[in-house]
């Protein structure tokens, strides 16, 4: 505990400085309790309630009948339509995340190692601005670009290529998702690379390592925790994306988040909607945790 041994206080009547880091229950609890209660009431409580609902039975016309059944989960795992929805969600998310990593790393590296401080600040703002544009606006923009009479087709039309059907295809959804997620990846990777001493790279280079070798043997192992953080963030966000699949993917393209919304708000089948939400959360959790464990094992081997 740092600072708990305060310098010997002068023998005056001033109150002695309070020890830092001691066990001071009351003030800390008083400060943290309102926020804690708020999160418990507005998030954890409703999640528990929804989990309980997912065990209820849905009777058309009556909405929900109290029960203790796994029927909703069984319905999900027994129905090939929903498995396909989950499958699509996972592969679209994995692909988008991978593309973000491949495209984001060079930008982050450029920002940290090569851009001048002024340009770094400006470029970072330019990365964060689209990030905070909102999914609705960004998706609208991609509709403008990818539509049948959109910018992309207009541009290739000038060169003489016939229009391509892009809207309502999985490709369009992946493009939209990558543009949503890329700024998150760049910002996360940038902050990790920032913490890696550039001298390590110079040292590797002076010992004869080529640039790619240095990246692979020096930068990558050190940046791994951050790369993992960025990758998981992008994956989670894309697993739960709503606007891109609905608006760019079209009515016959199904991902999990819109399906949850459809079941809960439109079909009013709460038990099944709740089960879907928990399947989505569980799958995301299992995939991200196993990625975490896998990378950590690798990381340990590297750092030995």
């Amino acid at each position: 505990m740092t600072g708990s041994s305060s310098p010997p206080s002068p023998a005056l009547t001033l109150p002695a400085p309070r020890a830092r880091g001691g066990w001071r229950l009351p003030p800390a609890f008083g400060l943290a309790t309102p926020a804690t209660l708020f999160v418990l009431i507005a998030l954890i409580g409703p999640l528990l309630l929804m989990f309980r609902y997912s065990l209820n039975r849905f009777v058309p016309g009556q909405m929900m009948v109290e029960a203790l059944t796994l029927a909703n989960y069984a319905k999900f795992f027994g129905d090939s339509f929903y498995q396909e929805v989950l499958g699509t969600t996972v592969w679209v998310s994995a692909l988008s995340t991978l593309l973000c990593l491949v495209a984001g790393f060079p930008v982050a590296y450029f920002l940290v190692r090569q851009a001048s401080p002024v340009w770094k600040g400006r470029l970072l703002l330019l990365v964060i601005l689209p990030l905070l544009m909102g999914n609705a606006v960004r998706t609208a923009a991609w509709m403008v670009i990818l539509g049948d009479k959109g910018l992309f087709n207009a541009v290739i039309g000038v060169i003489g290529i016939s229009p391509v059907k892009l809207m309502y295809t999985p490709t369009a959804v992946v493009i939209g998702l990558v543009s949503v997620l890329l700024p998150f990846m760049i910002v996360t990777l940038q902050s990790v690379l920032e913490g890696i001493d550039a001298n390590l790279e110079s040292a590797a280079a002076s010992l004869g390592a080529g640039h790619l070798t240095t990246l692979w043997r020096v930068v990558l192992p050190l940046a791994l925790p951050g790369i993992l953080a960025g990758t998981l963030l992008c994956f989670i966000l894309s697993m739960n994306a709503y606007a891109p699949p609905v608006l760019i993917g079209g009515p016959s393209f199904h991902m999990m988040a819109p399906t949850v919304y459809q079941q809960v708000a439109k079909a009013m089948n709460w038990p099944f909607g709740a089960a879907l939400a928990f399947v989505l959360m569980a799958v995301t959790l299992v995939l991200t945790t196993s990625a975490n464990i896998l990378v950590q094992r690798r990381y340990r081997r590297w750092s030995e």
């Binding site: 600072g3 001033l14 109150p15 309070r18 066990w23 229950l25 003030p27 800390a28 008083g30 309102p34 926020a35 804690t36 708020f38 999160v39 507005a42 998030l43 409703p46 999640l47 609902y53 930008v107 450029f110 190692r113 090569q114 470029l123 970072l124 703002l125 990365v127 601005l129 689209p130 905070l132 544009m133 999914n135 609705a136 606006v137 960004r138 998706t139 609208a140 923009a141 509709m143 403008v144 670009i145 539509g147 009479k149 959109g150 910018l151 207009a154 541009v155 543009s179 902050s191 640039h211 989670i236 739960n240 709503y242 988040a257 919304y261 809960v264 708000a265 709460w270 939400a277 989505l280």
Partner: protein, 268 residues
């Protein structure tokens, strides 16, 4: 490969990626000035008409007002709850501190659509018990958006507190200042940049939220993002682009302003 050519490769890749990231932004601003009746390329001329039309459209105007109101309340909720909580997390050691930190940051991790659905169900349940209208009401929206903003505020304010030496507070207290005086006269002025950044950031995060609000809006109580999405499901014209441009402008200004106070990249 020489060092210079490696640098060039990075610069070139970065330029391409940045162009991809910024393309939607540029496209949408450009299109908002097209005078084409039906959206197509190239432009037949340029006009400001779409901005007038967008404001004349009830769903966009009311949505904008609701969104600003909601975002302001979210800022207040997240600061009132988040600043004391950050203080507790950074300045004190207590049992369960890590658990509470995880809990307070969890609204960021729980998917918006899942949290939104859960809150919606809880509100309906409460409505039945209390015989009151909550879902689709403004207070319901305020609670959801306070929850969205809280973890970001905690992140930015804790970062500011970690960067501030506790010896300033110790000095004030050793001179006889009480805890509350110390907070308002010493701590607050020092971490002010972090708090301003947290407020601006909370505003933006709430303003652009879509997934969590989608369950909680009702007739006449729609946020701008929901209004945009429901419009886009049936139409695509320059009205949306005009609304989007205004939103980009507002967020851009807020972003540049908050970046003056604190490095925003620290929030992620």
């Amino acid at each position: 490969m020489g060092l210079v050519s490696i640098n060039r490769i990075y610069a070139a890749i970065s330029a391409v990626v940045m162009a991809f990231v910024l393309l939607p932004l540029v496209a949408v601003v450009w299109v908002s000035f097209f005078s084409n009746r039906i959206l197509s390329f190239p432009a037949t001329g340029y006009t400001f008409d779409w901005y007038v039309r967008a404001w004349a459209q009830d769903s966009f105007r009311n949505g904008f007002i609701t969104s600003v109101e909601t975002a302001l309340v979210a800022v207040v909720i997240s600061l009132v709850l988040g600043v004391p909580a950050s203080l507790a997390l950074v300045r004190y050691r207590f049992p369960g501190r890590d658990a509470i930190q995880t809990l307070l940051l969890s609204p960021m991790v729980v998917p918006g659509i899942v949290g939104g659905a859960a809150l919606f169900m809880a509100f309906i349940e409460l409505e039945i018990i209390l015989d009151m209208d909550i879902s689709g009401s403004l207070p319901g929206l305020f609670i959801a958006h306070g929850l969205i903003a809280l973890p970001w505020t905690i992140r930015l304010v804790t970062a500011a507190l970690v960067g501030m030496s506790p010896s300033y507070e110790e000095a004030a207290q050793s001179l006889g200042a009480g805890r509350i005086t110390t907070f308002f006269r010493v701590t607050l002025p020092i971490i002010k940049p972090g708090i301003v950044a947290a407020a601006l950031f909370s505003f933006v995060i709430s303003f652009i939220d879509l997934e969590k609000s989608i369950f909680l809006v009702g007739p006449g109580r729609t946020t701008l993002q929901i209004a945009l999405v429901s419009y886009l499901e049936w139409n695509l014209d320059s009205t949306v682009a005009a609304v989007a441009t205004v939103q980009i402008l507002i967020i851009g200004v807020l972003l540049v302003a908050s970046d003056r106070y604190a490095k925003l990249s620290r929030a992620f």
